[in-house]
């Protein structure tokens, strides 16, 4: 069979797990091969059908209430058993807090977050599969995050702009799940990170971001309870334009 090697890759392609270049080649092949495109269509139909059929059971309200109560009750038990350690820990933390506050202000907390964001951006670019959902269509990328992160966000329309949506992935910052979106502009990669604002402890507003220790341009703002970071090696003007598109949503 001529297409045997393509067909063997079909599921991996549809699961969004083929490396970028192979996915592009596959995409090109499927568009020109009626047999493979028919197979791709059936597989997509099956995936969707399983997805719908698989979302079948929902917990009762009573069970949810019980669970929430039991999680909230747990710390008390721990307190009884370990109060001496807890009290000692409080003293140590307070003492450390007083001492370190002399040396480290909110600036260092901000810098820490910014360098974490830069690391996440670099790690993504270095990955062999930088995105978990590959699509230039915002109506494909946005729903992919549904159920994966505890908030919703809007993606801007890119028509008549130089930006291309490459895809998205889940990410974590300070144990908080968030969304990372990758955009391309004239061969530069830009990451947009979105997290629930309240979950990040550092005060990120204020003076402009120091690029002293940061090899990238970056912009951050808070909007609608969400914290956005735009980072990349593109020019500050490019980043600002992308940020404006998000702000306009």
């Amino acid at each position: 069979m001529v297409c045997e090697s393509w067909k063997a890759q079909l599921d991996t392609y549809l699961d969004g797990e083929l490396p970028e270049e192979e996915a592009r080649n596959f995409d090109a092949h499927v568009r020109s091969c009626s047999s493979c495109s028919a197979d791709a269509l059936s597989s997509v139909q099956m995936k969707r059908a399983v997805q719908v059929a698989g979302k079948r059971f929902t917990p009762s309200t009573e069970f949810r209430r019980r669970m929430q109560q039991s999680i909230a009750l747990k710390p008390r038990r721990g307190f009884r058993l370990g109060w001496i350690f807890a009290a000692a820990a409080v003293v140590v933390v307070l003492a450390a807090g007083v001492l370190t506050s002399h040396y480290l202000g909110t600036q260092s907390a901000r810098d820490h977050v910014f360098s974490e964001i830069a690391d996440l951006h670099v790690a993504t670019l270095a990955s062999s599969s930088p995105v978990d959902v590959i699509s230039a269509d915002r109506h494909t990328v946005k729903p992919w995050f549904q159920g994966k992160i505890p908030f919703a966000f809007n993606l801007p329309e890119l028509q008549n702009t130089e930006f291309i949506l490459v895809g998205g992935r889940m990410t974590y910052l300070e144990q908080t799940p968030g969304a990372q979106l990758i955009y391309d502009v004239r061969k530069h990669h830009i990451s947009v990170f979105i997290f629930p604002d309240g979950a990040l402890r550092a005060n990120l507003d204020g003076e402009s971001i120091s690029r002293k220790n940061l090899p990238f341009n970056m912009e951050t703002w808070s909007q609608g309870g969400l914290r956005y970071f735009v980072i990349g090696d593109a020019s500050a003007a490019d980043l600002d334009n992308l940020a404006k598109l998000f702000r306009a949503e």
Binding site: E4, S42, A49, A53, F57, S70, I71, P177
Partner: protein, 174 residues
């Protein structure tokens, strides 16, 4: 760094519905699913301080749930009836020329498909659900099931084939 139960609740409660759905598919029984989820949350909260920052919390929770299930009575029974994976056999062709998907879709018969998923051996059922319903990446599935990515791919391929094969007689009946 120690993490607080408030943080645990913030991270874990958004996964509650999904974990319950997965638990119900594994146990195939409401009471057992509730017990399984309850035990998962209790274990996870107890072990939360050892949860490694920067690793995937969702995969960690699913892993606890699955391991808890596998050591339960129902889980032991289900796992013991699972045929050995033929991981070393080359992946079957992803799609055959005659497939039941179109007929299935045109009938929009979710019940048929649900029955076919129920009838899948445990290892196939769970990997199909993690991939299609939970939309986990291969990497996340590998962490959840504690298997290499190559095994994720071959097992997924066999699970899909078994599911399609299981649907054929059902569709012919209809």
């Amino acid at each position: 760094m120690s993490l607080q139960s408030g943080e645990f609740e913030e991270l874990a409660m958004p996964l509650f519905d999904q974990l319950y759905n997965f638990a119900h598919w594994l146990t195939q029984n409401r009471e057992e699913a509730e017990d399984l989820v309850q035990e998962t949350y209790t274990k996870a909260l107890r072990g939360f301080s050892s949860f490694q920052l920067g690793t995937n919390f969702r995969a960690w929770m699913y892993r606890i749930l699955r391991n808890t299930f596998l050591t339960s009575r129902t889980g032991l029974r289900a796992a013991s009836t699972v045929p050995l994976d033929l991981e070393e056999v080359g992946a079957d062709l992803a799609v055959e020329s005659e497939t039941p998907e179109t007929i299935l879709m045109s009938r929009s018969n979710s019940q048929l498909l649900q029955r076919a998923i129920e009838n899948l051996p445990l290892h196939y059922r769970e990997i199909i659900l993690l991939c299609e319903v939970e939309e986990m990446s291969y990497q996340e599935i590998a962490v959840t099931l504690s298997i290499p990515i190559g095994t994720v791919m071959s097992r997924l391929s066999r699970a899909r084939k078994t599911l399609r094969d299981g649907l054929r007689p059902e569709l012919q009946k209809g």
